[in-house]
Every structure is written in C-alpha cells, then in structure tokens.
C-alpha cells in the first residue's frame, strides 16, 4: 500500500513536470532540438513510467519496518510532529529575533522537551553552543548569520 502511495505521489510530480515541459517553447534560435522542454519531458516521462510499473506490479517489496507496537508508534509520531513544529517555528523566527537569543532558546527548549532532565546543564550547553556557532561563523569564517 505504501509503495502505491509513493508511486502515485511521485507520478503526480512527474505529470506536473511533464505538463510544464510541454508548455515550454518548442523552437529556439538553435532549432527545435535546443528547446528547453525536451530533457525535462524525457525525465518526467521516465519518472511517470517507472512509477507506473511500481503501481501496477503485484508484489510489495517494501520491508516491514513498521512491526513496532502501536503505543510506541504513537509516541514516535508525537515526537516527530513535536520536533517538526519546533524546527518550523525556529526557521520562521530566524531573522525576526536576534540569532543568539533565538538559537539559545531553541536549543534549550528542544533538548528539554525531548530529554526532560538535566535542565541547568542543557541551558548552559545551549548558550555555550550558540556562542560557539556564532563565533565560528561570524568571527572566524566571517560569514553572515540570520
């Protein structure tokens, strides 16, 4: 089932790229073979074709990685969603809040949420790491930080 869902998803992406390729100019100053859509069309057709084979084949070759109990799976999913949300919020706030403050808070919060112990140590590690990253990028390598 999971293979079919992936095949359908990637096939849709392939169709999207194929439609885009077909809407590109067919003739250029280098003739019709210099047209920008030729190669994207070829690659997207290959993706569609391979996904079609995956969709219609009988066997499901995906290894059963989901043989974990439901309770653990639910916990894993909760942690996954939590991590994703925290990452998104961090990236969203980048550039809006001072890098040193935002990163220190983000590192402390993420580590505390997932580890749930050693709060003082985590806070100190987070501030130290943030200062280290800041110093390394902006002072040693002279690169801009958000």
């Amino acid at each position: 089932m999971r293979d079919r869902i992936s095949a359908l998803l990637f096939m849709s992406l392939g169709i999207f790229f194929l439609v885009g390729a077909l809407r590109m100019p067919r003739v250029t100053e280098y003739g019709k073979y210099g047209a920008p859509g030729i190669v994207p069309a070829f690659f997207s057709i290959m993706v569609i074709l391979l996904c079609f084979i995956m969709l219609v084949r009988k066997h499901e070759s995906t290894s059963d990685t989901r043989s974990v109990p439901d309770e653990i799976r639910r916990k894993e999913n909760r942690k996954l969603i939590l991590a994703s949300v925290m990452f998104l919020v961090y990236v969203f706030l980048l550039g809006k809040i001072n890098f040193l403050i935002l990163t220190s808070v983000f590192l402390s919060a993420t580590s505390m949420v997932f580890l749930r112990k050693r709060f003082v140590l985590i806070a100190l590690t987070s501030v130290g790491t943030t200062l280290g990253i800041y110093y390394l990028f902006s002072r040693v390598f002279l690169l801009p930080l958000p």
Partner: protein
Amino acid sequence: MTTLKVFFQSMGSILTNPVFLFHLSWSTLLGIVVGILPGLTATLGVAILTTLTFGFPPDIAIPMLLCVYVGAIYGGSRTAIVLNIPGTPANAATTVDGFPLARSGMAGFALNVATIMSGIGSIMGAIFIVSLAPALGAVALRFGSWEFALLAIFGTIIAGSLTAPKDPLKGWIAGFLGLMIAMIGLDEIVSFPRYTFGNIQLYGGISLLPVLVGVYGIPEILTSLKRVTKAEVVLDFSTRGKKLSYLQTIKKNALNLVRSGLIGVFIGVIPGVGEDVAAWVAYDAAKRMSKEPEKFGQGSIEGLTAAETANNACVAGAIIPVLTLAVPGSAPAAVLLAAMWIHGIKAGPLLSIEHPEMIGYVAAAFTIATILMVLFGLIVTRLFLKILLVPTEILMPIIFVLCVVGTYVLNGRLFDVWVMLLFGLLGYFMRLNDFPAAPFVLGFILGPMADTNIRRALMLTNGNVSSFFTRPISLALIIAITLVVLSKYLPKRRGGRA
C-alpha cells in the same frame, strides 16, 4: 609522472604549512567524531563541513572535506568494535569480528588493528588515485556530448541499482526524480526559466547544498529524535587477553590486506556502490580464502582486517571517478563532488585541463588525511568515544542549527533554509518508504550535465539519435545501462518460474 611530481610537491607544501595542518587536523577529528556517533554518516559529515568551509579557498577546503570523509569512515569502526554498533554503514562488517574481539578482552588490540589496517587501505587507495585517475582522465577526454549525456544517466541508474538492491525500481525512481528536479531554473542553452513560476529566487535553480543537507541531514535528525527506545552506552576498554604483535599481524595478513585493498578500490570506482558493499565483499572474499574460516564471526583478525582495509580503500576508489568523470563512486563522494563544484572546482573530464594539478593535490591531501587519521586513531580516539555519552536529544538540535546556519550562509538568504526543510521532508518520506537518497542527489548533480549534453548532441546531429549507437564509448555505455537494468530483473523472473 607529472601527477606524481605534483603529489610530492603538494605533500611538502601541506606538511610545511602549520595553518593547513591545523585545519586538516580538526577536520580529521571532526570526521572521526561524526563516524563515532551512530546515525551520523560520512555523507552528513562532508555536507556539514561544506557549509563551514565557504570562506576557505578551495586548496584548503577540499583537503578538509577529504579529511572528514576519511575520518568518518574510519571513526565508525570505534563504535563497531566497542559497542557492536557500526558508526557508519561502512563499518557494519567490522562489527562481525570486532565486537567478539572486544568481548574477549581484546578491545584495545582490535581498535589499534582496525586503525592500522584502515591506514594501509587508505594508502593503497592513494596510490591508485595517483596511478589510475590520470589514465581514466585521459580516456574521459575523448568524451563528447553523447557520452556525457549517457554517463549522467548511467551514473544515476547504477547508483539506483546499487543503493536499493532489494528494489532497484525505487533507486531508479529516486535517480530520475533528482534529474527531473535539477531542471528547475534557467536552462543553460537558451536561458529559458523552467518551473520558476515567476519566482526570482528560483531563476538560478535550486542550490545543491540545501538539497544535500535537507535530504541527508533532516531525516537523520528527525529519525533520531523520534526514537522512543535508546541503547544504553557502556564503554569498556579492557586490555586483558594475549598480547599480539602488530607487525606480526600485518605480516600474517599481507595477502588479505592487498586483496581487500584492491577490492575496496575497485568497488569504490563503481558509481554508487560505496564503502559498506566494499567491506562486505572483502570480508566474504577473506572468509573464502582463509585457512581458518570457522573463526570468522567469532573474533577473527582476518575478518576485521578485510572489512577495515576495504572500506577505507574504497574511499579513494570512490574519489577517482569523481575527479575524472564527475560521477561519484559513493554517497559521501557525491557530496564531495558537490562541494568541489561549490568551491569552483569543476571535477570531471576537463579537470586535467582546467586544474591539472588537482589529482596529485587530492592524492597528497588524502595521504595526509590518512596519516592524521592513524595518528589520532592510535592516540586519542578512546577519549573521543566518550562523546557517545552525550544524549541524542542534545546533539541533534545542535546539528539542526548547524544545518540551518550552513545552508543560510551559502547565499545569505532564508529561501535556501526553506528549500532545505522542503527537501528534508522529501528525504524523510523517501527514507520511510525505502527510496535511497544517493541516486536522488546524484541525479540532481548530474541533471544539468545530462540536459545540456542531450540537447547539444541532438543539435549536432539534427535530431539523429544513431550517433548514440555508432560511437564506441557511447555504445558501450548504452550496453552497460541495458545490462544494469536487465541484470536486476532477469534472474528474478527465472527464479519466479522455478
């Protein structure tokens, strides 16, 4: 001969430059740490360091990346031996005999043997970079648009086949997805904006680094953070057991060393296979040829030697096609290729013209990376194993911040960070469904090469595709592609009938 001269000159210039040595030392240590930490791979290590080396000139950045690569593949053997957890996939074969050796009270001996054998494997690989790469480069200079176009497709397909052995179809889908997504941005022939939707940020295409970091880094971080049950780390460096001479061990395993080194290099040269396959093949060969095959799996020095020699020799092998054909031999080599492009070094057939000194320089840097790896391996890695005591929950958010910052500094725009997150999501979905990331990245790297050369070849022949079949190298590549595809399905069909 010129390459050899450059090799020795480069060795001299790097070894006498304290700044270079400092940077190479910490890069090697970083590589070892990345290797030691289960979950973090050499690929991720090279990707993260690429973000750190923007401000560096290529003549220092490339050796640093090599140091991380070499260090990480080696570093994985530490946890493989001490904890029975391969630090990187390349060290999976090391666990088979390394851990039993450690359990029998020979952890220290096994760690040092692995260090020495990895060093010898790497040096063998460096010899092949100097000797084989220029010859392969000379052949590559005969390539025209037809060959380049097919080479890009061949590289992607073979990477797909080899990184998804259970289901090559998924590997090929991933590869063609990479090739397809590489089409975003202005095309290189008529500068037509493809799939940009008027977004000015997409006109230059999607940068390689956000894709790399996203596809490799984010899935790793998410997978580590979501894990509910974690193994407890107990470090034991007991030194009891019989004392064995290292020199005697090398002498006794001389043939095994040479065979495993050669297997490692040649498997490395094949695009997309990588160090893990090299280690297993060498391990299998050593077991077959051994006078004491029954000891394999019980703590055989021969088995440990084969695995560790081959995986490090494979690193050099994987670099050879990167330099000469712009086709990476392994996933970390794909990132290395990307990093070289980011640093303005266009690896591939034209490298010997644009940067004639590069092959010798890379071989020299590789040798120095090996020397540093052995030195650190023998002196400080036991101390570095303590890093395993740092909880994943603290480490992974830090790695995430490094991924974000590294991606941001590429162009100084948050757009790249969002692109990284998007590809991270895609990478996670792919990992969840057993689609390998290596062919995707390879396809993304080789996409522009395929695009330009397919169209150029068609323009040259006015649409006549027969040239693809009449040029010898081109025909050989077509046959190779066909064989790779057929070899994955014909035996299955026969098996199915039986």
